[in-house]
Symmetry: C2
Subunit: 310 residues, 2 copies
């Protein structure tokens, strides 16, 4: 199966603790790396995870709170010191470039590569396709936080069927037709016999989806939007006992995260963005597991594969 | 003896590695904390060192390269989230506030405390007294780097003598005179007898000095300036084999750092700001020790006491 996995670089919330870094993740789709959020220390954690900077071309920022983007300057600066030449693309709500530019101008005067900002409108309630390449699409997931904030839905593109070599050899299918057959056509022999596609190919693995739901108040409609998602990351800043604080700060409890996962019939739930008040997150895990058993706690250094579970 | 110690939060150079954080230190003088430089991750390392944010009121930035100040935004922002009310003072070469202000305006809109910038002129060749309180003075140490850059000399103020209680009791010295006697006066009894100060007091511990020499090319005159310093931190980015690179980038080798320590008759040398190219810093230590035996490698989490060694 093609690689599709999520590396957790940091899963704490705004206040740093001795156990957690600020928010950052890296999604690896077929060895292309996509960073989601870039809290302070993200570049260090990136190195610790033994990921390669050269494979990173896109960074997605969910919202403009410091714990989700204060690591950008260091990352951008390091890539220039390393002599990078490929463009680096930063997708974020409006305002990031304007706020960063004076520091970029001051500290990164002679950049070895081009930095491209792609602002999107995080205030609108509609999902938006903000990135697409051969293997993946990325849509925003409108969330409900104190400032405009979006999650991101990474969806693998459907892949062509796999040829069954022994069969295409047997029917002596000419090379120039193989690409069409991969894409579903039947084969007609020179004698006029129709060989159904199903005899020549095996279906590719079904495409998978990963949803990253950054800081948000409990948003029931997410479950409709993310129906059947294979892996769901949902913030779980608080435990049920701190529900008033969760409401006040537009964050979710672990139980609310699990409710979204259950209602969305997600394959698996990963929770993170833990408040500094919890000495360990077992209480959050137990709350979530009670509603949605296939829940895992995010942790620095953790790598979770996105699997088709049904 | 009064507390005077140096905590190493980070001792790597510009490129992050899995072993070192960017530059930051905390000087603890009698339980007041002074941060020197604030590379990315400094606030995390501060917490890990079990230091108290409430005791930190002054930050000194040696020069405006990212690896010495990209941690400031996170620190400033965290202190506000924690509800700090005391002012925080940032001493740095000119330009820091101008470059940071747009991000401060954007990300730290409702600060719980006042941030006070105190720019100094790092281009001039003269040392300058930039800070003073009851226990300590801080002078700049002009250095020679690619951009204006200063080290910092922390000097304890001389303390009054200690009273020998049994003697002041014996001579029935009135309470209102004790402060004068601490400061060196003799005591004249009601009968006119002069009791020499030396019989009533013991001299306080001699004041100690810590010199932090940030990024700099080898600067022989430092040894005159820092003659007899008790603890010297000197950058040692490179080993002798990389001397051309050290010259090119206005950095020092470990041997050059040791030469400054030896010529300054320093009590002890601490080296840091290690280039990412060294898998371990033993080569740097050996180079330095050959010239100046009392050398120690900086390391994250290390705490070094400033001691009077002669």
């Amino acid at each position: 199966m093609e690689k599709f996995e999520v590396h957790i670089l940091g899963c704490g919330s705004a206040l740093p603790t001795t156990r957690h870094y600020a928010t950052s993740q890296v999604v690896n789709v077929r060895d292309k790396l996509y960073m989601i959020d870039c809290g302070e220390g993200a570049q260090l954690q990136f190195r610790r995870s033994r990921l390669k900077f050269s494979r990173l071309n896109h960074v997605f920022i969910s919202h403009l709170h410091g714990d989700h983007c204060f690591g950008l300057l260091g990352l951008v600066s390091t890539l220039s010191l390393l002599g990078r030449t490929a463009e680096l693309h930063i997708h974020s709500p409006h305002g990031l470039q304007e706020s960063m530019q004076p520091m970029l101008d001051f500290y990164c005067r002679q950049m070895s590569y081009r930095l491209c900002f792609h602002p999107f409108d995080a205030r609108q309630g509609e999902e938006e396709l903000i990135y697409e390449d051969r293997s993946v699409t990325v849509h925003t997931i409108p969330l409900h936080h104190r400032i405009p904030c979006c999650g991101f839905l990474f969806a693998e593109k459907p892949r062509p069927n796999h040829l069954i070599r022994s069969m295409t050899d047997f029917y002596q299918v000419p090379l120039y037709l193989l690409s069409r057959i991969k894409n579903g056509e039947d084969y007609v022999t020179p004698g006029g016999e129709v060989i159904p596609n199903a005899r020549l190919t095996q279906p590719a693995a079904p495409p998978r989806r990963y949803a990253y739901c950054s800081d948000t108040a409990y948003l029931p409609e997410l479950s409709t939007r993310l129906q059947g998602v294979d892996l769901l990351f949902h913030e779980a800043t608080f435990a049920l006992g701190d529900l008033p604080r969760a409401r006040e700060t537009f964050h979710s409890t672990a139980g609310q995260a699990a409710q979204v996962a259950r209602d969305a019939r997600a394959g698996k739930l990963l929770i993170g963005h833990f408040s500094a008040r919890y000495e360990n997150e077992q209480v959050l895990l137990e709350e979530a597991v009670a509603l949605f058993p296939n829940t895992q706690l995010a942790a620095e250094g953790l790598c979770v594969e996105v699997l088709k579970t049904f």
